[in-house]
Structure formats: C-alpha cells, structure tokens
Symmetry: C2
C-alpha cells in the first residue's frame, strides 16, 4: 500500500510487442487501487506487480480502442473467480458499457461483486470524488472520442503547533476544526488566529494521464501545474509526420506540453512498436523539458 | 514451417497465473497455422514463439469460457493492424460468433481480411477438410457445451519404385495416378498391379485435443489410436474430489483415457493455479500410462 504511486503495467501502443504491453496503469492511493485503461494482459501484469485484486475499486477507460479496453473481460472474469467482494466502478463511454455488459452476459454471468458503470463524456468534468481525492476528465484529441484523467489530492489538514495548543490549553475536541483552519475562541472571548496555532499542511499532489492524443496546446491548460504528467509519445522525431494524422504525439511534443503546463515531471509512453529502443523518446523530450522519465513495465513512480 | 507440429501457447486453467497462460495451441501444418482455443494473451504468445500471423487460417474454439476465448478480440484487432490478407475461419458455437461479431463491431470495424464463421455443435462431425487434413469435433463433458478436436492427416501418396517404373517404361503422365494406387496398363493390354510399382506410403498421423472435460471413458472411443493426445489434467490426485463436480479431470484420469484409447503419447495441461509445480501431474499420469509429457508454454511437439 502506497500513499500515491503510479504503477506502469503497460506502455506500448496499439499492437502489443514482446517489448511492451498495451496501455494500463494502476494508481495505488492509500487503501485503494485505481486502474487507468485496461489493455489485454492487464490482469497478469497486476499479478506480476503484486497489486492485489481485492483493492481494485475503480477503472477509468480513456477511449474505446482495443489496446485500452480488451483486458477488461478477462480481468473481470478473474476477479469473479477470486471472489472479490464489494463493488467495482467502471468509468467509460456509453458504448463501452454496452459492449462490456454484452461480453459479461456471455462469459461471466455471476460475479461476487457489483459492477457499476459511470458513463463519462469527452469534456472537462469531475467524475469521482471522496474525502481525499478528486478525479476529473478533460478532452483529448484522438481519432475517436478520448479523455485524459487528472487525479488530485484534496487539501490536507494543517499541522498543529504542539507548543501553542498547550500554551492556550485547547481541549482535544476542538483540534480537528483547528486542523481544518478554524480559529480558536478562548473562554474569555479572545480569538486566537489559526495561523498562530498551526503550520501549513503538506502539499497536495496531482497526476494527469494523457493517452492517445495529437499535440494540442489546449491540453497544457487542463494539466497545468500537476506534479507528474503522463503524456503519450507514440513517435520520436523520425516519424513526426505520422503523429498528427494518426491522432498521436511525438516525445518532443509531449515535452512541449509539459513545459507549457509547468509540470514537475513528465512520463513518456505509448511507444510505437516501430522502435527497438526507448532511448530516442527520452533524449528528444529532454531537449525541451528537463525532468523526463521513459516509462517501462513494472516501473513505480511515487508522488508522495 | 513444420510438417505437423503442436505448439503450446498456454496450458493454464481459468485464472492465468505467473506460471501458465490460459488455453491456446497452434498446429503448424505445412503452409498453415491452425489455432485451438484462444485465451487472453494468445497474440503475444504467437509473437514470442515466432508463429507468423499471416499463416493463421483457422481458429477452433472448444467452448465459451473466457480462458478459451478472450484472446480473440485482441488477436483479430492485431491481425487487422498487421494487414493480414485472405480469410480467417473461426469455428465456434452460435453464441461465440454472436459475441465476437458484437465486439468486432465495437472495436475493429474494418479488417483487411475476411472473417468467416463456421458454426459447430457439440457432437461428432467433420468440420474442416482439404486435400491433406481432416478436422473433426467430438463431444466433451464439461459444465457448458464443449467439444474436442481431432486433426487427422489424410492417407498419403504411395512411394514409386524407380526401378520398376524404368523397367516398364511408364510415361511421366501416369505416375500421379500410380502414386494414388492405380494399376498400370501396358500398351499390349497387360495389367501391372500397383503393388509391383509402389511401396507403402508414409504413415498418416493424428492429434486429438481434449480441453475441459470430466473423466468419461466415451472420450477414449473418439480419440482411439491417435498418435498424440492432449487431455486436460486440471488436478492431481490430492484434489481428485474437485475434478468431476467442476467438469475437469485429474492427470491420472487423463492417462486412463490415453491407455484405453491406445494412443502413442499423452500431453497433459490445463493445470489448476493451485499447483506450484507440474511434477505431480506427470508423475501420477506415468503410473497409468508410459509416454507422458507435461505441457509448458513454448513447447513444440513434432508429429512428423
């Protein structure tokens, strides 16, 4: 269990290869796992990376191409065999929910857990929210409707200053409100400003996932300031002319988005199988933006 | 390209594990590849085992459980991206054809090859035949309708005796008929019996695949005398009581079928993920039948 960790399960593109698996990531956020895209073989990658099926609670599908979706039927069948309980929410377009329901009706009529569908659309919207995390969609620019996902930690509680809490003799029952920013009113009516009682909270971190998109500066607005950005880089410079017509980006273009958005770190992936090495992607992106990682299966990136 | 070779792509059972992939085999028969069952990850196993997509011509699905079927959508999508031409025939039950058509309509609307469906039923029938090979179905005994497949080489041409062909001065245009068993009539009307002109052909070999079945002696009748039999062995003796209720067999039961059917060699597979080692399967089966192989991914068994 991690605080906020991105696990790379697959970072290849449409055709799997012996080097890379199709698209899949798992965000390990405290007690739960959030999967983003689910290419064929995702279930096996979860096993290999020791990500427990029982902790999987949400799956987010960016678009309805096979390399981002076709691991779902097998994964759900296996979850049923593993007797996972509770519920699993699948965030996908209407058509994805329809096809998956059809497949499940044929292959996996009984599950030990409830499958919920949350229908998403290709626009900016909050699609999941709890006490600690918000997940938003934003539009991407591919050959079919496609969204990116932004995972943002909510603001955290402020740190109490033990010395001041003691000095003002503040009762325990008030501490939770003070952590959330409240001032303290003394029995005599004197107001002690929160700033005297607390220090700033730990920073909240954020992660954005942009899979399958042509270069579009509008993306930078939607991912502005995130700590870590994953942006597809299907091609390097040598095939740059193929990128836009196919709804994809080069590594250099991904880096330009990272720079324009002022993100902390850029992760590259969704490599075309035309490449024998990931080296050109990282090298060319680094010429535009300093903090670049080329994803590979099994990689874990801790945001906290 | 092989003459008649069984390639093991997956020999695990319902849940894939880090040890075994779900069910898939490829028969490499002269110029073509015939796939039997298509568990998730089959396309990647084909790549790893260097079995060329372009040579794949027929896929036979034994029954509609996910671990025998869910590799199909990804495989077909990839074949389309690889611009495979010609046609691909999928032999499956009505429901399988319906679901696959539905998935393909959602994920892979355009293919560069024609997908043909041959609807099979769970009974004994010839479902494919050409000049060199016959494929038959026969019933298996699982929780859902299920068939085995028997691949039989047709009788081959007889060998010409060069000395006799020369002695009787037989023209080249008659040799093909003589290879097929015809007598030769001399210009003076004398009949030379084929037996004087030829020797026996090479033996024709056969292979039977029995996936997902409880032990049933009737199976031995359907696979009688095959050179190589693959028979599922989900369990070893220690879980024997689980086998029949789940529609599966033990390795020992598989060996009893092999013995009763008088086959040449037995291949075991479809191992439950409950086992850390394949050793008990081969050991227990060997106590009943001498010539046993425990399948593993990447294994190639030459019948010719």
């Amino acid at each position: 269990m991690a605080n906020f960790q991105v696990n790379i399960l697959g970072c290849g593109s449409a055709t799997p290869s012996t080097r890379h698996m199709p698209a899949c990531q798992v965000i390990d956020f405290r007690d739960r796992l959030f999967m983003i895209d689910c290419g064929e073989g995702a279930q096996l990658q979860m096993m290999k990376q020791r990500l427990k099926f029982s902790r999987l609670s949400h799956i987010f599908i960016s678009h309805l191409h096979g390399d981002h979706f076709l691991g779902l039927p097998g994964l759900l069948s296996t979850l049923a065999l593993h007797e996972k309980g509770g519920s699993l929410t699948i965030h996908t377009f209407t058509e994805g929910a329809r096809i998956l329901s059809e497949i499940m009706a044929g292959f996996c009529r009984e599950t030990s857990f409830e499958i919920k569908y949350n229908i998403i659309t290709p626009k900016r919207a909050v699609i999941f929210e709890d006490h600690a995390l918000t997940v938003e969609t934003f539009p991407l620019y591919h050959r079919v409707p496609c969204v990116g996902f932004k995972f943002s930690e909510k603001p955290k509680a402020r740190h109490l200053r033990g010395d001041m809490i003691k000095f003002y003799n503040i009762p325990v029952c008030r501490l939770e409100d003070i952590r959330r920013g409240a001032d303290y009113v003394m029995p005599d009516g004197t107001v002690i400003a929160n700033a005297r009682l607390t220090t700033d909270p730990d920073p909240s971190v954020s992660y954005a996932y942009c899979s399958d998109t042509m270069y579009n500066p509008a993306v930078a607005d939607d991912v502005r300031g995130v700590d870590v950005l994953y942006h597809e880089s299907t091609y390097a410079d040598n095939f740059a002319e193929k990128a836009a017509p196919r709804g994809h980006s080069t590594a250099r273009e991904a880096a330009r988005i990272a720079k324009a958005a002022g993100v902390g770190k850029l992760i590259l992936g969704h490599y075309s199988k035309a490449y024998d090495s990931d080296e050109p992607f990282a090298r060319e992106a680094s010429e535009e933006f300093p903090n670049v990682i080329a994803a590979t299966e099994g990689m874990k990136i801790d945001l906290l």
